[in-house]
C-alpha cells in the first residue's frame, strides 16, 4: 500500500530538478559532442565533418601547449597544495590556543570571489606598485624580485599559487575532518611506544588517510582541469601563451574566432582526458579499504 502510494510522487517530485538538469546541463553536454563533429562557416551554417576537428587538434601547436600548461598547472598546484594543506591540518589537529582564529584566516580566502582574489593578487604581484617585490627589496632579497605575471617562466606558477591560496581552506577543512576521525587509541598506543609526532604522522596518520588523500587528489585534478577565471582575469593566457590552458583557449576559439565546433572538440578531449586520469589515479592509489 505504502509503496504503491509512494510511487505516485516519483515523477512530480523529480520533474522540476530533472527538467533544469536536462535543459541546462544534459542537453548542452550532448550538443557539445554533436558540435565537435561539425564545422561552422563564417555565415553560420553547420556542416557535418566527422572527426575532422579532432584530427585538426592533433596537429595544433596551440592546443598541445594549452594541454601541456593544463597538466603543468595540475602538477605544480598539487605540489603547492598538498604538503602545506596536510601540514596546516596536522597543526590544527593539535588543539592549539587560538584555533578558531587560525581556522578563520586559513579558510577566509575561500569565501571570497575568484574575481576579487585575482584582481587583488594581480596588484600584489605588480613589480613596483604591488606588495611582493617591494617587500622582498625591503628584506634585502631584491634579487628574488621578478615581474611575476609578466615573465613566461614564472607566470603559470604565480597564477597557480593564487588558486591554491584561494582554495586551500577547503582542503584543510576536509583533511581536518579526516584527522579527527582517526581512532585516538591507535595514536595513543604509538605515543606510549615512544614514536615522535613526525613519525606518527608519516607512519600512521597519512597511511590511514590514504583513501581521503586519493579522493582529494582526484578532486584537485577535476578542479584544475577547469581552470579558467584566475587565468582569464590575471593574465588572459599570456605572456606568450605561457598560461593558456585548455579552458581559456576554448573560450577564445569560440568567441574570438567563432569556431564553435573546434572549441567543442577541445572540450570533449578535455573531459575524456580528465575522466581517464581520474580513473587511473583511483586505480593506482587504491589501497585495501581500512575499517576503523
Amino acid at each position: 500500500m505504502l509503496r504503491k502510494a509512494q510511487r505516485r510522487i516519483i515523477v512530480p517530485f523529480l520533474l522540476p530538478a530533472f527538467a533544469l538538469l536536462a535543459l541546462f546541463f544534459l542537453y548542452p553536454l550532448f550538443r557539445t559532442i554533436d558540435l565537435s563533429l561539425n564545422e561552422f562557416s563564417r555565415t553560420g551554417t553547420m556542416t557535418f565533418v566527422g572527426t575532422d576537428q579532432y584530427e585538426r587538434l592533433v596537429g595544433d601547436p596551440d592546443f598541445a601547449s594549452s594541454l601541456k600548461n593544463t597538466f603543468l598547472l595540475t602538477i605544480i598546484g598539487a605540489l603547492m597544495l598538498f604538503p602545506p594543506a596536510i601540514t596546516i591540518a596536522w597543526a590544527l589537529s593539535h588543539r592549539l590556543r587560538g584555533e578558531r582564529f587560525f581556522r578563520f584566516f586559513v579558510f577566509a580566502p575561500v569565501v571570497l570571489s575568484v574575481a576579487v582574489v585575482s584582481i587583488m593578487w594581480k596588484f600584489l604581484y605588480h613589480p613596483t606598485l604591488g606588495l611582493i617585490n617591494p617587500t622582498l627589496e625591503g628584506l634585502g632579497l631584491g634579487a628574488l624580485a621578478k615581474t611575476w605575471l609578466g615573465d613566461p617562466a614564472t607566470a603559470l606558477a604565480a597564477v597557480t599559487f593564487v588558486s591554491v591560496w584561494h582554495g586551500i581552506g577547503i582542503w584543510v577543512v576536509l583533511l581536518c575532518a579526516g584527522f579527527e576521525r582517526l581512532p585516538t587509541d591507535v595514536l595513543e598506543a604509538a605515543r606510549i611506544d615512544g614514536a615522535g609526532e613526525g613519525r606518527i604522522l608519516f607512519s600512521i596518520m597519512l597511511p590511514m588517510l590514504a583513501d581521503l588523500l586519493r579522493m582529494l587528489l582526484v578532486l584537485w585534478v577535476v578542479q584544475s582541469f577547469q581552470a579558467f577565471a584566475f587565468i582569464y582575469i590575471m593574465t588572459g593566457g599570456g605572456p606568450f601563451g605561457s598560461t593558456e590552458t585548455v579552458g581559456t583557449l576554448m573560450y577564445r576559439v569560440a568567441f574570438d574566432q567563432a569556431d564553435f565546433g573546434y572549441a567543442a572538440a577541445m572540450g570533449v578531449v578535455l573531459v575524456v582526458l580528465m575522466l581517464v586520469l581520474a580513473k587511473v589515479l583511483n586505480k593506482v592509489m587504491k589501497r585495501d579499504e581500512l575499517q576503523y
Binding site: 548542452p28 596546516i88 579558510f107 606598485l129
Partner: protein, 316 residues
C-alpha cells in the same frame, strides 16, 4: 593477550618507566569543534605550528591591510608613494565613488537578487527531488541518481557554447533570470548528493507511521521529513549561496549589459578599466566593499560553513 604482552615488556625493561608518563594518558574522546574542552598543554614542537599558522595570518592580514590602505589613498599617492606608506588621510569618498560612480551598488544588488533566488530555487528543487531518490524504491532510481551525480565529475564549462546558443534561442541571454536558472541547475548535483545522503539516515518507520495515520506521501514529505532536514538544507543553502555569490564564468558568458552584471563581473570590468585608466583607488575601495560583508558573514557562520562542506564530502 594483554597480560602476556605486558609481561614481556616488564621482563625486558623492568626499571624504565613508560616514556609517556609525564602526564596522565589523555583520554580524548572524538573531538567536536568549538567544544569547551581545555586546550592541550604547550609542547616544544607546538612552536613550529604557531610559527606556521602565525605566518599565514600575518601574510593574509597584510594583504588585506594593503588593499585597505590603498583604498584610502589618492591615485597620485598610490603611484608616487611606496606600497607600505600609510595613506595621508581617510578618503572615504573613494567608497562613495565606487558605490555610485563605479556602479558597485548596482552590482551588489544584482548579485544579491541573483544569488538569493538561484539558491532558493536550487535548494527547493533538489530537496524535493532527493526524497524519491533516497526513500522510494523504483526501477531506475540508481540510474537517475547517477545522472544527477555525474554533474560532480564532468567539467561544466566545456558545455558553454551550446549553452550560450540555447540561452540565445530562449531569449534568456543577457538576463538575470537566465543566470538564475543556470546557477540553480549548477547547484543541483552537490545539493542532491548531500540531501539524499542526509535523508537516508532517517529511520524508515517515519513513513510507515505516517501512512498508518492516513497521511499521503506528499503530506508525509512536507509534514514529517522536511522538518527533520533542517541541518542538511542549511548546509546546502550556505554552500550554494557562496558558490553563486562568487561565480564568475557563467556571468561573463551570459551577461553583457553593465546594468545586469553581478559583483564579480562588475569588479572584473572595473579592473580592466583601471588597467588603462588611472582609477585604481576606486577599484580598491570596490574590492574592500565586496570583501568585508562576506568576511563578516563568514566570521559569524564559520562553523556551519565548514561543517556543511564536510557533510557533503565525507561520509559521517
Amino acid at each position: 593477550m594483554t597480560n602476556s604482552s605486558t609481561d614481556v615488556i616488564q621482563k625486558d625493561a623492568p626499571m624504565s618507566p613508560p616514556p609517556a608518563v609525564e602526564e596522565p594518558v589523555q583520554r580524548r574522546k572524538r573531538r567536536r569543534r568549538g567544544s569547551t574542552e581545555p586546550r592541550a598543554p604547550f609542547r616544544t614542537y607546538h612552536l613550529f605550528f604557531y610559527l606556521l599558522l602565525g605566518s599565514i595570518v600575518v601574510s593574509t592580514a597584510s594583504a588585506f591591510a594593503w588593499v585597505f590602505n590603498v583604498s584610502m589613498k589618492t591615485n597620485r599617492e598610490f603611484l608616487a608613494t611606496s606600497p607600505w606608506e600609510l595613506a595621508e588621510g581617510w578618503r572615504w569618498e573613494n567608497y562613495a565613488n565606487a558605490w555610485s560612480g563605479a556602479n558597485i551598488g548596482a552590482y551588489f544588488g544584482n548579485s544579491l537578487v541573483v544569488t538569493l533566488t538561484a539558491t532558493a530555487v536550487g535548494v527547493a528543487v533538489s530537496v524535493v527531488a532527493a526524497y524519491p531518490l533516497a526513500r522510494v524504491q523504483f526501477r531506475f532510481s540508481g540510474v537517475v541518481l547517477a545522472v544527477f551525480l555525474m554533474g560532480l565529475m564532468i567539467p561544466w564549462m566545456v558545455t558553454f557554447a551550446p549553452l550560450y546558443n540555447l540561452m540565445q534561442d530562449f531569449g534568456l541571454l543577457d538576463s538575470r533570470i537566465g543566470l538564475i536558472l543556470v546557477y540553480a541547475t549548477y547547484n543541483l548535483p552537490f545539493n542532491v548528493f548531500v540531501l539524499t545522503g542526509f535523508m537516508k539516515t532517517l529511520p524508515y518507520e517515519l513513513e510507515e507511521a505516517a501512512a498508518i495515520d492516513g497521511a499521503s506521501p506528499t503530506r508525509t514529505f512536507f509534514s514529517v521529513i522536511l522538518p527533520l532536514m533542517g541541518p542538511g538544507v542549511a548546509s546546502v543553502a550556505i554552500i550554494s549561496f557562496l558558490q553563486n555569490w562568487n561565480e564568475f564564468f557563467y556571468a561573463l558568458l551570459l551577461i553583457h549589459t553593465p546594468e545586469k552584471m553581478t559583483l564579480p563581473l562588475g569588479l572584473f570590468q572595473l579592473g580592466q578599466a583601471a588597467n588603462y585608466g588611472t582609477n585604481w583607488v576606486t577599484l580598491f575601495a570596490g574590492m574592500m566593499m565586496t570583501v568585508v560583508p562576506v568576511l563578516l558573514a563568514f566570521a559569524l557562520l564559520q562553523k556551519q560553513i565548514t561543517k556543511g562542506l564536510t557533510v557533503g564530502a565525507l561520509k559521517g
